[in-house]
């Protein structure tokens, strides 16, 4: 089976410096691919290229076999879910309205929406009583659950997560990591996950993509990275992330 997303020679420059050198990457169906690397390494740029928030200077990005263009990006986005660090929930809408915004926009029936809403509440262990609350009335963890429900509402083929757990306290974070992994497995969800935390990457990633200074340095499993580092930066990154405790 071919890859769901395929980047060929994709590069991006911002005004002063290259953010992404010409890069090739395939995101396999049903797997979780994790982009990891220090800040400014280009991992968020890559993610934003896939959802079309920015357009590449060169190269092509194909989604499910067809090339992404400005003409089809609008409809393609409905097949992609997107969750960011702070959740990106709209403060003027209740949790329910946030989750159903797109479903309403594409004209889903109300029975269908109700059924899907109950299903996702169960999936993300989110209490239905909280659905009529506004984002400001929810905790950080609850907000991320709502954001995830919103992203999954239209059953997207691809789920993009940009440091989704980065702003949470460690206990909530650990609990959510476990739940997320279960959800991805249950849905056999193709996921592209951005993080700077190696443990999180190792926990989620079927495939780990380590980036530095706008380039992919090494791609493989976490043991590939640990045991067969492609260059000194890989070892350096891995050792730094182990922290003092494991020295």
């Amino acid at each position: 089976m071919s890859a769901l997303v395929e980047l060929v020679d994709v590069s991006k420059r911002y005004a002063d410096a290259p953010a992404l050198h010409p890069t090739n990457l395939a995101i396999e169906r049903g797997k979780t691919t994790v982009l990891i690397g220090p800040s400014g390494c280009g991992k968020s740029t890559l993610l934003r290229l896939v959802i079309g928030l920015i357009t590449p200077d060169s190269g092509t990005i194909a989604f499910d076999g067809s090339q992404i263009t400005s003409a089809n990006i609008g409809t393609l986005r409905r097949r992609i879910g997107y969750v960011i660090q702070e959740g990106g929930l709209f403060p003027h809408l209740t949790a329910r309205a946030n989750i159903l915004l797109m479903a309403r926009y594409v004209g889903r029936s109300s029975e269908e929406m109700r059924a899907r809403l109950l299903e996702s509440c169960e999936l993300t262990r989110f209490s239905e009583n909280l659905l009529s609350r506004y984002p400001i009335e929810l905790s950080g963890g609850q907000r991320q659950r709502v954001s995830l429900m919103r992203a999954l509402m239209l059953s997207p083929e691809l789920l993009l997560l940009d440091e989704p757990l980065g702003a949470l306290d460690p206990l909530v974070r650990a609990a959510l990591q476990k739940e997320l992994k279960e959800i991805f497995a249950r849905l056999r969800q193709t996921t592209l996950f951005v993080t700077h935390d190696l443990a999180e990457a190792a926990y989620f990633g079927d495939e780990i993509v380590l980036m530095n200074e706008g380039r992919i340095v090494q791609q493989g499993t976490v043991s590939d990275l640990r045991e067969r580092p492609a260059d000194p930066f890989v070892s350096e990154f891995i050792n730094a992330q182990r922290g003092p405790a494991s020295l």
Partner: protein, 524 residues
């Protein structure tokens, strides 16, 4: 405009209708070809306002001083008594504004002085005979009646006590008193037969010369803030304030015989009626009418005095205070409301464009800011000569609309720009179309800021709408203006207090509206 066409149609039905059609067609094609959409919106609303405002066949205008008001009232009643419905638009401003209104057909007649016609309208230094004046005016389709009977020339006046003490009797005597402070009306300061040539002719040495409103100038003279001011020789205040007129010993001032100017296309019965006033008012009588107007604070009552020998008028003279207040307030709300509505309709889309930055954004914000810096009086004066506007309610609405624009445009732009980038991108990444993003996400999130802008505009408009009275558009500015003119604080307050209350009420109303229109999630 429609009013005039109506009259003509009755006279020569066929050609009148044809002309009306041609005219409508011209206006339509002009608008369609030249004006952007928002000006079209503009042209619809105020036209209906203007039509509702002038049901009368003949509209009399007057300048902003007592004698002009009284003559206007006399003309209105004379026409009414002849069975011709007439309306009087009081105190429209200075010579140029009223003259433009006559030429622009917003009014049909107004009282004027021969000296002013020669100097200000025909722009000549020669002394013209009435026939020469008539010939020149005919080119503008304007006619003049015979003199009404009095010569209201300009004069310089002083406090009687001071003049006596210092022995000042003539204008030449002023040369011995360079320390005198002189307060002059703005019109007199700028007129070709005004201060500059007068100073040159008499070689006057005074340096301390200020411009001051005519009515306020009397108060300033009384409390010795100034020593000399300009006046009209039939001005009732000369006696009231115990002033003396300085003799024009070098015969500088030309004659100012009062006449009525009227549009030559007026129906003959209306002209005949106006001409009944010729030769009926000598200086003594005019001064008495002026004094009566100042005493009773009511121009209609003063005009009544003129008719006392004749038949009693059938038109009601007095209008109860509450009725007047309701009329002013309604008109005020109409002015402020329509202009605000237009400012919202135009301002929010402009704000949306401005929020995207770039040259278009800066141009919009720049334009709106520049408009805001133009003094409101100057803005009115700039709009009056334009063909579409003139002396009308729509000029007032246009000016208020322009003033209301900036707060709405700026607040809409800032409100949208303040939306965090992450939320903006979330809306895009979800797959909402640009329109859906705007309506469902961006505008609701910016609603607090946008509403605050609209509130600011509303309060500004309520305040600024008082100036609409300057161009005869009515509203609560009407009593304020008459009060200023009569130097009567009570009358000023009749307009100022309701205007202030209205502003508070509007502020309060918008605070309530916030609770309805700002989404609950943004108010927690």
């Amino acid at each position: 405009m429609n009013r005039i066409r109506k009259v003509r149609k009755e006279e020569t039905a066929e050609s009148g209708i044809q002309e009306a059609r041609n005219c409508d067609f011209r206006i339509q094609s002009f608008l369609a070809s030249l004006l952007p959409d928002f000006l079209l919106i503009f042209s619809c609303i105020p036209v209906f306002l203007v039509d509702s405002a002038s049901a009368a066949d003949v509209v009399i205008g007057s300048k902003k001083f007592t004698e002009s008001y009284v003559l206007g009232e006399i003309a209105k009643r004379t026409l009414n008594d002849a069975g011709i419905p007439a309306e009087h638009r009081q105190g429209m401003g200075g010579t140029i504004i009223v003259w433009q209104a006559l030429r622009g057909r917003q009014i049909d007649a107004y009282p004027e002085y021969t000296g002013t016609i020669a100097q200000e309208i025909l722009k000549t230094d020669r002394k013209l005979s009435l026939n020469e004046i008539r010939e020149a005016l005919a080119k503008s389709d304007v006619g003049a009646t015979e003199p009404l009977g009095f010569n209201n020339t300009y004069a310089l006046v002083m406090r009687r006590s001071q003049a006596k003490r210092l022995g000042v009797r003539t204008i030449s005597d002023l040369r011995d008193h360079p320390e005198f402070k002189i307060g002059l009306t703005h019109e007199f300061l700028d007129r070709q037969d005004g201060w500059q040539p007068l100073r040159a002719r008499y070689a006057l040495p005074q340096q301390n010369v200020i411009g001051i409103d005519h009515a306020l100038g009397y108060a300033a003279l009384k409390n010795s803030s100034i020593d000399v001011k300009d006046a009209y020789s039939t001005d009732a205040k000369i006696a009231e304030y115990d002033l003396v007129t300085l003799e024009d010993d070098l015969q500088f001032f030309p004659r100012y015989d009062a006449v009525f100017l009227y549009r030559l296309s007026l129906p003959a019965p209306a002209i005949t009626a106006l001409r009944k006033i010729e030769g009926t008012l000598d200086e003594t009588r005019m001064t008495r009418l002026n004094a009566e107007a100042e005493r009773t604070k009511n121009y209609a009552t003063a005009a009544n005095l003129y008719f006392q020998d004749g038949v009693e008028s059938t038109t009601p003279v007095g209008e109860s205070f509450w009725h007047k207040l309701a009329r002013w307030t309604l008109r005020h709300l109409e002015l402020a409301g329509f202009s605000l509505l237009l400012a919202v309709i135009v301002g929010i889309p402009l704000g949306i464009i401005a929020s995207r930055g770039g040259p278009a954004g800066s141009a919009i914000l720049g334009f709106a800011s520049v408009v805001q810096t133009i003094p409101s009086l100057a803005l009115l004066a700039l709009l009056v000569p334009l063909p579409f506007f003139g002396i009308s309610v729509r000029t007032a609405i246009a000016a208020l609309f322009l003033y209301g624009l900036l707060p709405i445009v700026r607040n809409t732009a800032t409100g949208l720009q303040d939306i965090p980038r992450a939320l903006r991108e979330s809306a895009i990444a979800l797959g909402l179309s640009p329109m859906a993003r705007l309506w469902q996400v961006y505008l609701p999130m910016a609603s607090r800021s946008i509403l605050a802008g609209i509130k600011t505009s509303a309060v500004i408009n309520i305040g600024t709408a008082t100036l609409a009275a300057l161009i005869g558009a009515g509203g609560l500015g009407e009593p304020i203006l008459s009060g200023l003119n009569l130097n009567d604080n009570a009358t000023i307050l009749e307009g100022a207090i309701p205007a202030a209350l209205l502003a508070l009420l509007v502020q309060w109303g918008f605070d309530l509206l916030d609770r309805v229109l700002i989404p609950k999630g943004l108010r927690l």
